[in-house]
Every structure is written in structure tokens, then in C-alpha cells.
Symmetry: C2
Subunit: 674 residues, 2 copies
């Protein structure tokens, strides 16, 4: 046995075991090896962000023999299978003392690696980016590939089946806009992989986690901590942290509106007159629209369309004076038939096809070019588009949409395969937006929000939103799914999350009911940002201004939200400082409660509020579980010391408890009177 910086390597039974801060990380014997090498040909098809991914596996070889040699900074382990196949694992500590495992295939034709990390049957696993169906990931494989999240996401649901028949769009439990090769084990370590290739993290075996890499190398970083809170602080020290939110975010709801300047003004007036606190208008059609057989689509030519939005420039200034931001929309594609694309093409800034011609992606009756963000000139040019067309116009923020659609057969300026760059793309797109703010001194003043993400989004994406939920009550793709999404992202180092109030996807038989909109509004008042969306078929959906009762509901819930401003703000600032997420799994603060590790539909909002959103239709009461503490029901003042409780849960009174001894107790108790 030899020890280096808390790393111990012991030779056993013709193999070895590797421990780090007393956690068994690797165990290798000829009969139970920890490393496989192999080769395959990725068979990846994309249609509108929906991917069909198969591996035509050429081979997968167990590397049964391991030879350990000491190195000044650790160990080099050569894995072999006879005299024909080999790979190398370097074990060392990085400059921060993190255990670093570097894998390398030796054969040029080998482009697959499988590593088995040691596990205990009782371990829980969290993270892997934004996971909508599972919070504890134990028991299942999680392929990691940024894509559309799927419509329905459960093969047992009728909507999923309809979406699968239409465009292979139904999805499955692991489909996500924001995958990430990072997980936290209840052995209190995190493991993060530096790569961006397609990976599959399989947590289904009792005694190991099998990580598959579609690349010829991989670098893993592992760090331990005495508490999950310190662990997240360490993880976000590695990955980066989001800056604090602009102050205006806490001042009300951002209304998703389309249709032009006057429509925005009218809806704003109606809502304000109804007592709703409004902090902004988000108009994704600011750049104009395109008519297709599917209905109106946003014109992907990223500049103010003054026909659809006359006097927008002066109105932005006026609204800003009234405390209302104007938020717009952009994505990393440019419509092939418009001038921005022509300008990019002229400069050679679009990604290419195999023949060296500009690559145009089909988006449903129109095509768009892909800005090549690996080309520094193209990247800078697009950043200037953001600065000039969005920031100079006075936008208070925007949706920085997409990032998941990089086709794997396009050719990039940096020479790296698009298959490898695909996952990295969302973070690159985030960085471009982030730097536009940073370089104009607008960080902390302007807010962009994204759905797609990857490693790096922690630092560069100023706010996540949960993407395109169905306007329904389904567990895998409705209101409920937003909660594990926020919590898994929290465990992956991103602590700022919100969602479209009411959901977005309105297809087939789905229509948004009034009850769903109001329950979603209730939930959103206990997240760091409130923002509505009309949905893709606004006429089929109940909207925030549909009747007086709905407006009054928004008035009350935005008042609750703005009342919580100082509390939310300090939680957001803490997230910026230490990576402690704003929406937190219960076990972050209640480590000793076994039940805290299995709950995926309730969370702590900051340190002192426990929220259990109602995610079922027609309910008037709700059962939740409280860890041992002194809890007060926000709406009734009733107290509870913990355990399972059933509370009344009418619309407008989502199950929320606060800690009696909180510094914010008087603020919380004031909510009863709103």
C-alpha cells in the first residue's frame, strides 16, 4: 500500500484497490475487472432535436490484467488483455487535491471505454444535469446527450405514443436539454468527467457504477466532503457559479406576451390594474414572425422588427422607468432566407457539411444556418449581434433558446468532431451570451435564461428554465417534473431554476386548464423567478388574463413572491458565493433523515421554507413529509415537529412550511395576511 494525498492504492489478488479519503473508488481483479476498451460506430439520427442513438459495437474487451507502477505524482496503471489489447489509467491529484483518473486507449481504432466505479448497494446517486423523471438515479442507466426533452417522456402515456408516431418526439425518462457527466454519491463524494462525448452512466448494478465513454480517453475528478453543502461548494469551485440575479427579478412576474407593442401594453395595463406585480414583458416575437402551415413561428433573424413592434425602443425606456423590463429572444441559428444568415455566410461563419458548403438545418418549412461557435471570429461576431441588437436596444434580458441541435454530421472550424462537440455546445452558447453581458458591464443587470446546458453552464448560464413541459399533470412531463429537474440540477452545481408558468407544449388532446395555470403559479412563487408562457398554441390554453379570478390569483401570488424578496435574494446571493442552490433537496440540511433522500417532489426553498407543490388535478388537500424541526404552516400558523402531515391545500395556498426559529419568521408569518 502507498498513500499520496489521501489516495491509497493497495495491491490485491492480481489486482488492486484504490481508495480516496476512505471511499473505495476502484477495485480490480482479473475476474471482476474495472476497465473495458473497445470500438463502435455511433449511429445517430436527428430530427428536430429528437435523437435516435445506437452504437454499432465492434468490440468491448475486458482488460483483466493490471500492472501498477509508481509515479512521482501518483500511479500509472497499465491494463491489458493478453499481449494484444491495452489501456492506461493515470491516478493522481490535481492542483486542488482532487483525485484525478485519466484513462487512455492505446489502440488507435479503439474509441470506447467503460469504467466501473465501486459502489455500495445502499448508495443513492443524484445529479447528471437536469433529470425530469428521477431524482435518485440509482437503479437505471442515464445516457447523457443534450436533446429535446421529449413530449410525454413515458412510453405508457398516450401523448408520448402520439409524439413518437409523429416525429419520434415522445422521449424517455433520461431525455434532457441539460445532461451532465457529474454525480453526487451518498458516500459524500462527487465525480465529474471532463469530456463532452456521448456517455452512459449506468447506476443499475448493486456494487458498481458503469460509466461508458464514446471516446478514446476520459478524465474523471473526484472530491469528498464531510457534508453535502461543502461538497456542492467544492463542486461549484470546480465548475463555476452563477452570478446573483438582477434586483428586478424579485419584483414580480415576467409576462410572456406576443403580438406587438400595443398587445404588450394592453396586457401589462390589465394586469397592473388588477394588482399584479409585473417585473417584465417577455416577447419572443420581437424579431417578427413567419407564417407556416403549423401556425406562427418566430422569425429567426435577431433584430428588432419595427413593423410588428413599432416604437419598441421608446416604449422599452418608458417601461423601464415604470419598473418593467423588456425581454426578447435569440438562439444560435439564423434563418437561411434572411440577412443575418447571409452576413454570417458571407464571412464564413456557418458550420459546414462534408462538401464544405454551409450546413442548413430543417426546422419545419424553413431552414437555418448554424453559427460556428468554435470559430473565434464567428463567436465574437455573434456576441456583437447580441450586444448591438439586444443590449443596445435596451432589453432587460432574453431567452437564449436552443443549443441542443448541433447535428453530428456538420463540420466545425476547430476540427473537433461534431459528435464530441454536440454536448459542449449549450455551454459555448451560454458563454457567448455571458460574455456579451460581462463585456458591456451588464452582468447582474440583464438576465438571459436557457434550457440547454452542459458542464460550464454553471458559470455561464445566468438562469435556467425547465424547458417545454406539457400543459398537463403528467409526472414525467408536467408540473411535477420541474421539481426533480431543479433538484438534480442543484446537485450538478446549477442553483437557479424556474419554469414556464402553465407549461408550454400544447399538442394532440392537451389544453391548459385554469386549475393547472393557477397551481403552477402557486409553485412558481416559491422559485427564484416567476415567468409565464402562452404555450405553442395560445388559443388552446388558459391564460393569465383569461378572467378576473385568474388575474386576482396572480396579484396575490406575485405579492407573496415580492414579499419574500429579501429572503430569496439572500439565498440567491449565497448560491453565487458558495454554490448552495436556491431550491434544495431536503437532505442538504437534514442529512440524518433517511426519508429526505427519497423525496423528489418537495424541496427546501432557501434554508427555512419547505415547499411541497400540489401536482395532481382536483386536489384540495395534500400530504407531505417534514424532517424533524419546528415547522409552521405558512397559511394557518399551525405548528408541526416533523413526520407525515396532511394539510388543506386550496388554490393559492400551496403546502409551505417555515422554520419557527428562522431569522425570517416574521416575514413568513406576514404571508398569512396577503
Amino acid at each position: 500500500m502507498r498513500t499520496l494525498q489521501n489516495i491509497h492504492l493497495t495491491r490485491i489478488d492480481h489486482g488492486f484497490s484504490l481508495t480516496y479519503e476512505n471511499r473505495l473508488i476502484l477495485r480490480h481483479t482479473p475476474d471482476a475487472p474495472c476497465l473495458w476498451a473497445g470500438a463502435g460506430v455511433a449511429d445517430i439520427e436527428m430530427f428536430r432535436g429528437n435523437f435516435s442513438i445506437k452504437d454499432r459495437l465492434d468490440e468491448k474487451i475486458a482488460l483483466t490484467h493490471a500492472t501498477v507502477s509508481d509515479q512521482p505524482d501518483g500511479w500509472a496503471i497499465r491494463f491489458t488483455r493478453g499481449d494484444a489489447v491495452s489501456a492506461t489509467l493515470d491516478v493522481s491529484a490535481d492542483d486542488k487535491g482532487r483525485l484525478t483518473l485519466t484513462l487512455r486507449n492505446d489502440a488507435a481504432r479503439h474509441n470506447r471505454l467503460w469504467l466501473r466505479l465501486a459502489a455500495n448497494p445502499e448508495d443513492h446517486i443524484y445529479g447528471c444535469g437536469e433529470q425530469f423523471s428521477y431524482f435518485d438515479l440509482r437503479g437505471k442507466p442515464f445516457p447523457l446527450w443534450t436533446s429535446e426533452q421529449g413530449v410525454g417522456r413515458n412510453k405508457q402515456s398516450h401523448v408520448t405514443w402520439l409524439a413518437d408516431c409523429k416525429e419520434n418526439a415522445g422521449g424517455d425518462y433520461y431525455w434532457t436539454f441539460f445532461p451532465q457527466p457529474t454525480f453526487v454519491s451518498t458516500q459524500k463524494y462527487y465525480c465529474h468527467v471532463d469530456n463532452s462525448c456521448y456517455m452512459n452512466f449506468d447506476f443499475s448494478a448493486p456494487d458498481y457504477h458503469e460509466l461508458a465513454f464514446w471516446e478514446d480517453n476520459a478524465t474523471l475528478r473526484i472530491e469528498c466532503a464531510p457534508t453535502y453543502i461543502i461538497l456542492l461548494e467544492k463542486l461549484t469551485a470546480l465548475l463555476g457559479r452563477q452570478p446573483a440575479l438582477p434586483d428586478w427579478v424579485y419584483d414580480g412576474v415576467t409576462l410572456g406576451i406576443q403580438g406587438g407593442t400595443e398587445v404588450c401594453q394592453q396586457k401589462l395595463d390589465v394586469m397592473r390594474q388588477g394588482g399584479v406585480k409585473v417585473n417584465g414583458i417577455w416577447a419572443q416575437d420581437w424579431s417578427g414572425i413567419r407564417m407556416t402551415s403549423f401556425g406562427k413561428r418566430v422569425m429567426w433573424n435577431w433584430k428588432w422588427n419595427s413593423e410588428r413592434y413599432p416604437q419598441l425602443d421608446t416604449r422599452i425606456a418608458q417601461w423601464k422607468r415604470e419598473g418593467v423590463q423588456f425581454l426578447s429572444y435569440i438562439n444560435p441559428y439564423v434563418a437561411s432566407d434572411r440577412d443575418l444568415c447571409e452576413a454570417a455566410a458571407r464571412r464564413g461563419y456557418l458550420t459546414k457539411d462534408a462538401q464544405g458548403q454551409d450546413y442548413h438545418v430543417e426546422f419545419g418549412e424553413f431552414y437555418a444556418g448554424v453559427i460556428d461557435l468554435t470559430n473565434p471570429e464567428a463567436y465574437d461576431w455573434y456576441k456583437e449581434v447580441i450586444k448591438k441588437n439586444l443590449i443596445e436596444l435596451g432589453c432587460g434580458g432574453w431567452m437564449a433558446d436552443f443549443g441542443e441541435y448541433l447535428p453530428t454530421d456538420t463540420h466545425l472550424h476547430n476540427g473537433v468532431s461534431a459528435e464530441i462537440m454536440h454536448n459542449a455546445w449549450p455551454a459555448l452558447w451560454a458563454k457567448c451570451n455571458y460574455e456579451a453581458l460581462q463585456e458591456t458591464g451588464k452582468l447582474g443587470e440583464i438576465l438571459f435564461f436557457m434550457r440547454a446546458g452542459y458542464t460550464g453552464s454553471q458559470k455561464y448560464s445566468t438562469m435556467m428554465w425547465a424547458g417545454d413541459q406539457n400543459v398537463d399533470w403528467s409526472l414525467d412531463d408536467g408540473l411535477a417534473s420541474v421539481i426533480p429537474a431543479a433538484l438534480s440540477l442543484a446537485m450538478s452545481g446549477h442553483g437557479l431554476h424556474h419554469s414556464d408558468i402553465g407549461g408550454y407544449t400544447t399538442l394532440f388532446e392537451m389544453k391548459r386548464s385554469k386549475e393547472l395555470l393557477l397551481r403552477w403559479c402557486d409553485f412558481s412563487a416559491f422559485t427564484p423567478m416567476m415567468r409565464t408562457h402562452e404555450g405553442n398554441r395560445p388559443g388552446d390554453n388558459w391564460q393569465f388574463d383569461a378572467d378576473r379570478e385568474t388575474i386576482a390569483h396572480f396579484a396575490r401570488m406575485t405579492t407573496i413572491f415580492t414579499t419574500l424578496k429579501p429572503y430569496i435574494k439572500q439565498a440567491v446571493e449565497q448560491n453565487a458565493r458558495t454554490g448552495l442552490p436556491v431550491m434544495r433537496p431536503l437532505f442538504l440540511h437534514y442529512e440524518h433523515e433517511a426519508r429526505a433522500y427519497t423525496l423528489k417532489y418537495q424541496y427546501l426553498f432557501g434554508r427555512d421554507l419547505l415547499v411541497a407543490p400540489v401536482y395532481e388535478e382536483g386536489r384540495r388537500d395534500w400530504t407531505l413529509w417534514l424532517p424533524e424541526d419546528n415547522w409552521v404552516n405558512v397559511w394557518t400558523g399551525e405548528t408541526c415537529a416533523g413526520g407525515e402531515v396532511t394539510v388543506e391545500a386550496p388554490l393559492g395556498k400551496p403546502p409551505v412550511f417555515y422554520r419557527a426559529h428562522s431569522d425570517w419568521a416574521s416575514l413568513f408569518s406576514s404571508l398569512r395576511h396577503i
Copy 2:
């Protein structure tokens, strides 16, 4: 190069090529090897005959290096990957001169093999047992595992989705009761594998067919012929041929009836009075029924139930005198709560669980034991049950149902893993029935029919039926699907096939329409046997006696069928003699017509009739393709020299042509006047 009995082996580029009768069979180089070895753990779950099968693959290793050594009877090729992994391929000719490839893994822990046979991009492939969705198998993998065929069998169909949600029962294109590791290539060779393990024959690559074996050895037999007809003669010389059908089969329709002696008598009388030619009554509930929450189920205790069927013994004799056979039902399970099971258990004739206790399978509110057909005593005992309880009673035949459900975790008397025996089970079950006939001298007099099959069913299963089609028009699971099923089975060496007139599976929104029943009746008049089925929900289905028009339709179509008796009979006898199937793909007789290789919904019935069943709803005309010949429309007498033609196709006049120069022309021309 060295040659042995038309086998040539040539050493090339550190590898070799193997040809047989001028067909390239194997080509191996280090960069494009032909053999892989590996290991996996089969993860097989069964619920009511629906299987979920996954391979937890431990490894798959390309064996890049091949060393050929000459042997007296051929060659031994040792395949290696470095000094650690190896397998052996013996190349020889068997006693009939067939090319024989015998594969063997060397490592004890290796239980997987993959072999790539050389292919040309333009080759078509047929066979693999009974395939319902595809006839030409090129372009897809075909896992070979006997199971339920699935309900819907197409993930785009609503019925499939409903069935998947309910019991994982929806199935897919390759699900079949009768898989077989046998295929015919348009290079005019067949390839047959002796094994019964789970296999996957993947015909999707342009230049090879990859055959995967879940076993540590495999034996392939390959034979060539100048024509497909001779090739089938050779294939059936290897696999066996079905005896000719009893003469009574050609004398009318077998009516599927349930409900007791008097119901049978009444329905028989109604049909005969309506002019229907009836050759038999098939009553699956002869052994009684069991009430479950799903409705009536047959009592799986295989003996005459005289309460439900009073005077059956004397009535059987009476019916027989009138030319009407009585057919019953049996399967290889015995209901756990009845005396036959008790008798089997007492003798130790049931298969066992891991603890050595009798294994009982859940069938939906009742359990049944599995007769261990690998135990010679149990096998003989069950054969006696057939002889005594079915043959002695006077049954003219029976449905020998099931055979697909052998659980992979049961323990068998012969010590072979149930995973290996699973596919072999249907043929073992067929053999038991066959020998009961043979030993009582009833072959050619009594007929049993099966849906499940495997290698060996050619010899032992006296008649196949297509299993449980939906009572609908779907391509993958309705009327249409029976045609590729018959043709693929024909190319696998089984030449006798028929189906439930009207289909069987009646679930969800499905109900059998009158039109479907009549179209199916039209089709069945041009198959070797006509037999009806009420379906699993008789009340939801249109039945043969539902109205006068339907009865009259059956009268006419059974008259057509019986008129064809001498013609069908000689085709059946030819099948018994030479393995030339009764329902034939067009290319058997029109080898030079390219289009003949791609048609899956029309066939030759014997040599001189071409049949193109109408399998779409609401059609009154039909377009078909005729190879170059002198054709006469059976219903109009119009002639045609070939090519695509559109004909009128009212109910009762399915598109059928005969060859003008046929010896049977006058018989065929008489059909116009029926």
C-alpha cells in the same frame, strides 16, 4: 488454395476466404474479421408469453488473427486475439456433402459468438421461420426466440401501444411463435444452424450477415442448388417433411365452436342446411371451462368433460359417419388445481424451480405445471394422455396449442439450461403429438395443428396455423400478415399453413367486421385448410352464422375449396414428397423475374394458381402483379400475359389467376360457375 468437395479455402492478406460451390461464404482479414467471441448474462423476463430480452454484455472481442491448418476432412481454423482469447472453426463436409462450419469458444466463461457470413448488397434473404411483417429479411436484424407473436406488432399502431401498456404484449416486427435459424439467400444457398439458443440474425449490413449466438458453440450447415425448388428439397431432406393431410381436410371448413354438444349440433345443422361444406367441428372447450374475471377460459385438464359435452362419445361417431370430424384441444401445461397435474406431479413429471419444487406458471387467475418433455418417462406418459384421452375418444384432430412459454428459470430433467431448451420446446411438443399418431397408426387420418414451432417442426408438426391475428386489417397483425407468414415458413421448410378465418385477438377497440370475416374466408379457400375461430371475445365478433348472407358466402367458398380438392391434394402430396410448399413465393417458379423477389402479399397456390388476397377494407378492385405467363382470371375468364393488372374484386371473388396451359385448367374454369 485447397479444394475438398466443392469447398475452396484460399489464404489472403493474413486471413482467408472460404467459398462453397462458387459462393463466397467467409472472408477474414485482421481488419475485417469474421468471428467474435465474448460473454454476456441473459436478462430474460417473461409475462404470459411476452418476453423482454436484454443481454448484459460482458465482452465482445474481435478475433483478428486466423491460423488455418489442413485436416483430413477439411480445415481447422484457430482464431485468436493476441495470446489471451481464442476460438476454433472447423470446416468440413457432412455425410451428404453439406458445408459444415463448427464454432467453438475456447474460454470456459465465453458464452457468446458472432459470425459474419459474406454477402452481396443485392442479395435477398428469406426464412427464419414464420415472419409476419417481412418476407425479404434483408435490412433488419431478426432475433430468434419463440414467444407470443404480439398484439399489433408495430409501435406506430394504437393497438400495439395499448397492449404494451397492459402486459408488454404489443410485440414488434420479429416476434413470432415459430422462429428458426434457417435462411435462404438469393445466392441460392440455404444456411441452417443446429443450435436452439437465443440467436440474432442481422441482415442489415451490405456486405455481411452477422449471426449472433448466445451459446459457446454453433454448427452451421450450408447447401447450394441450381434452383430454389431443388434447394427446398435439399433443405427438407435435412429438416424433415410433413406427411400428407388427411383426406377429410379437403372436404370443407372446420367450424370453431364452443358451448357444448348441442351448440355444436345446432350450428352444424344451420351451416349444412345453408349449403356449407363442413368437414369438422373444432371445440376447444371439450375439457370444460373455468370462469375468471376475464371471462371463460378452457379448463386445462385434458380429458372429455361430459357435463359440458354430454354424449360426446356417441355424437363423435355419428358425426364421423356424416363426414364431420370432431377436433379438440390440448397444450403442454396442466392446470395446477386439477387431477392431471396432480398425477404428473406425483410421478415427478413437472419441471422444477431452483429449489427442486414443481414449477407453476401463472396464466391469469390460475396456475399450471409444465410437463417436462425432456424426461422420457414424462414424455411417454403425456403421449399416453393424448392417445387415451383424445385419440381413443375418437377425435379427428386437435389444436396442439402453446409451446412458446418455457420459462428460462425452470429446471429440466435432461440437465440442459431452459434458456437453451426454450426454442427447442415447440418441436419437442410437436414430436410428442406426432408419435401419438404414429404409434396408433393414425398419421394421415388425424390432424393436429400448431402455432409454435422450431427446427424439427417440419417433420413433426402435421399442420401449422398462423396463431392469433388481430380481428383487423393491420399489415403487421391482421389478415395481410398471414401471407408473409406462410411464405417465410415455406422457405424454412414447412409447407402447410392456414389461419383462423376472421382472426382471433379481440381486445381494446377491436371488433371483427362482417367484411373482414368474408375476405378472410375468401383467402382461406386458397390455402390448404379452412377453419374458423370465434375469437377470444365471440360476442364482439361477426360470426359465420351471423346472417344468411354470411352463411351463403361460406357455402360458396367451401364449394370452391372442395372443388379444388384434387388440385390441392396433389400439391400437398408433392410437399410431403419433396418439400415444395403448397403456398409458394412467386420466385420459386419465376426465378428470372426481379419483381417476384419483392412481393410479400401474393403467392402461388400450388403450381398453377396465383392468389392476391384483398387485405384492405372497403376495396372493390385490387391491383396485383403477374409474372410473364398465360394467365386466366378465375372469375371472368379474361386472359393476361403478365405485368401489373387491376381487377374487380368484390367479396367472394378474391383476385386469383390460373395458368391457361395447366393440366387443371378445366377444373379452374369450372369455378366461375359456382
